[in-house]
Amino acid sequence: MGYIAEGVVTALKLLVRGDPETYSAVFTTLRASSISILASLVIGIPLGFLLGYYNFPGKRQIRALVDTLLALPTVVVGLVVYALITRRGPLGGLGLLFTIPGISVAQTILILPIVISLTATAISNLDIRFKRTVMTLGADRRRTAITALYESRYGVLAAAVAAYGRAIGEVGVSMMIGGNIKWHTRTITTAIALETGKGQFAMGIALGLILLLLAFIINWILQIMKRKT
C-alpha cells in the first residue's frame, strides 16, 4: 500500500515539474489518437449513416457484422496490421511500422466499428415522425437525409467521444505497431506497461492519473451529449 501513496506523490511531482518523458508520452498519445479519431469519423460517419438510414438486402447481416467487430481484441488487430505493414508484408513499402501514423492506422481500424455502429444506431433511432414531419414541410430525399444526420448530431458526437476514449486507452495495438520507442512512439499506455514492468510504479501511476483525467474529461463531455439526445 505504501508504494501507491509514494507513487501518487511522485506522480504529482512529475506532472508539476513538467517532466519531459511524461509529457512526451502524453503528447504522443494525443497525436496518435487525434489522427485516428479524425480518420475514423471521416470514414465511419458516412458509412454509419448509410447503414442506419437506408434499407437494403443484407442490412441486418452487415449490422451484425459491425457489432461483432466492436468486440475485436486489440491484439488481433495488432497482429493483422503488423502482418500488413511489416517490411515483408504487402504494405511494407509505406514504412508505417514503429511510427505514429502506423499506430493511428491500427487504432483507426480498431475504433471504426464503434463510430459506424453508434452512428447507425443514432440514425435509426429517429422517429418515423421525423421523416413525416420533414417531408410534409417540403423536404425532398436529399434534404431529408441531411436533416436526419443533423437531427442525430448528439448521438453521433457521443459515438466520436466514445471512440476517442477507446483509442486513448488502448495499449495492445500501440505496443505492437508503435514499438514503444522512447520520445517517438511511447504513448501513455505503453509507457505505463513499460514502467510497471520495470517496477517503476511512480511513473506508472503518474501516467495513469493523466490517463484517468483524460478519460474523465471525455466521459464528462459524453454525458453532456447524452443528455441532449
Binding site: R132, T136, G138
Partner: protein
C-alpha cells in the same frame, strides 16, 4: 385543366394483413372547403390523411391533385416537391426538430429557399398560435410543453401558407389552453385564407363549427356522409311482415326486408323527426323514446343537428333553428324520435 376539385380519389386501397385498411371507391375534395373526418381509432382516418398529404402511399388506386395524376413515374409521389409544398399535415403527436422554436418554424421556409422576410413570416405564424415571438423564438425544443410543441408545429405549417392544410387530431394530445388556441387559430385560417382544410378530430362541437362537410369513417370505409345514422342488426322477421331489431331497453326498430339479417341500415338525419310529446295515430312504425344530448349549430346556416340517445343508440336528426326555438329544445330533454320503416335504407 382547371377543376375545382383539389383531390380526386379513385379506388384507393391500402392493405393491412389479410384485409384492407382502407377501401375508398371514390372521393372528391373541393377547393376552399373544409372537411371534418370522424370515426373511431383504427378506422383509417390518419392513413387517408397521410396519403392526401403525400407522405404515405396507397397500395392501389389513384389520387389526382389539381387534375394531375400525382403518381409519378416511379410510383412514388413524394419526390415532387412542388406538389408537396402546397399540402402540409400536422401530425397527431407533437413533434419538433431538435432545434430552436424559430428554426422549427423556419425549416419549411428555408427549404424553399426563402431568405428575405423569413423573420416576419415566422413571427407572424407564432403570433397566430398565441406564442410571443420575442420570448419564444430562442427556446429549445426540449424546453417546451406538449401543448406548446404542438402549437409550434402548427405554426411551422401555417408559415408555409399552404393550399391544403391537413390536421390529424390536432388537439388530442395537448392541454386545454393549447387546444383552445389551436382551435381558434384554425378558425382564423378558415376565415382569412382560401385554404382547403381536412381535419380529423374527436371534438365534435369544434368540428362542426369549422367544417363544411363531415365524413364518417368506419373500418376503412367512408360511410356516406355524416347525414346518415347507422343502425346495426341483427334483424329478425316479425309476424306482421316487417323486420325488427331490439335495443337494450327493449324498444324495437322496424324496417323493410334487409339483404341479410346482419345488414346495417342507414337512416338519413333529415328523415328523422323529433317531438317533445309521444304522438299517436301515426303511420310511422318507429316511435322511440330517448334523451336529447347535444345540439350542434352550423355557422351561417339554419341547419341544426340534434344528437339524441335512444337506449344504446345515438341518433342524429337535422332540424331547423326555428324548430329548436319552437319546441324549446335543450340538452337533457326527454324527446321522441319518429321515422318510417321505409326510411331505413340498406348499406
Amino acid at each position: 385543366m382547371y377543376t375545382s376539385a383539389v383531390f380526386e380519389i379513385k379506388n384507393l386501397k391500402r392493405q393491412y394483413g389479410q384485409g384492407f385498411l382502407l377501401d375508398i371507391p371514390s372521393l372528391v375534395i373541393e377547393r376552399g372547403k373544409s372537411y371534418g373526418f370522424v370515426g373511431p381509432n383504427g378506422s383509417g382516418k390518419s392513413t387517408l390523411l397521410r396519403m392526401l398529404a403525400f407522405i404515405d402511399e396507397p397500395d392501389e388506386g389513384t389520387i389526382r391533385y389539381h387534375g394531375n395524376d400525382s403518381m409519378g413515374e416511379r410510383g412514388y409521389v413524394t419526390e415532387d416537391r412542388t406538389i408537396r409544398v402546397s399540402v402540409t399535415m400536422l401530425l397527431q403527436e407533437p413533434y419538433l426538430l431538435k432545434r430552436s422554436v424559430f428554426e422549427n418554424v423556419a425549416y419549411g421556409l428555408r427549404t424553399r429557399g426563402m431568405r428575405r422576410g423569413l423573420r416576419e413570416r415566422v413571427y407572424e405564424s407564432l403570433n397566430m398560435i398565441g406564442l410571443n415571438p420575442e420570448t419564444f423564438s430562442h427556446r429549445k425544443w426540449s424546453e417546451l410543453s406538449g401543448g406548446e410543441s404542438q402549437r409550434v408545429a402548427l405554426a411551422a405549417r401555417l408559415a408555409l401558407k399552404p393550399d391544403v392544410l391537413i390536421l390529424d387530431e390536432p388537439t388530442a394530445s395537448v392541454d386545454r389552453v393549447s387546444a383552445h388556441l389551436i382551435k381558434e387559430a384554425i378558425k382564423v385560417v378558415r376565415k382569412n385564407y382560401m385554404s382547403t382544410l381536412l381535419i380529423a378530430s374527436h371534438d365534435l362541437v369544434w368540428l362542426h363549427e369549422v367544417s363544411d362537410e363531415i365524413l364518417r369513417m368506419h373500418e376503412g370505409l367512408i360511410m356516406g356522409s355524416e347525414e346518415d345514422n347507422f343502425i346495426t342488426g341483427p334483424w329478425s322477421l316479425e309476424d306482421d311482415g316487417l323486420w325488427s331489431t331490439t335495443l337494450h331497453d327493449g324498444q324495437q326498430i322496424r324496417a323493410l326486408k334487409p339483404p341479410s339479417p346482419t345488414s346495417i341500415a342507414l337512416l338519413n338525419t333529415v328523415s328523422t323527426i323529433v317531438t317533445t310529446e309521444r304522438p299517436d295515430h301515426l303511420s310511422a312504425q318507429n316511435i322511440l323514446a330517448g334523451r336529447l344530448m347535444h345540439i350542434y349549430t352550423f355557422e351561417n346556416s339554419e341547419r341544426v343537428k340534434l344528437d339524441i340517445q335512444v337506449a344504446n343508440l345515438s341518433l342524429n336528426a337535422t332540424v331547423t333553428r326555428a324548430a329548436v326555438r319552437a319546441l324549446g329544445l335543450m340538452p337533457g330533454l326527454d324527446v321522441w324520435v319518429v321515422f318510417k320503416a321505409s326510411s331505413l335504407q340498406w348499406q
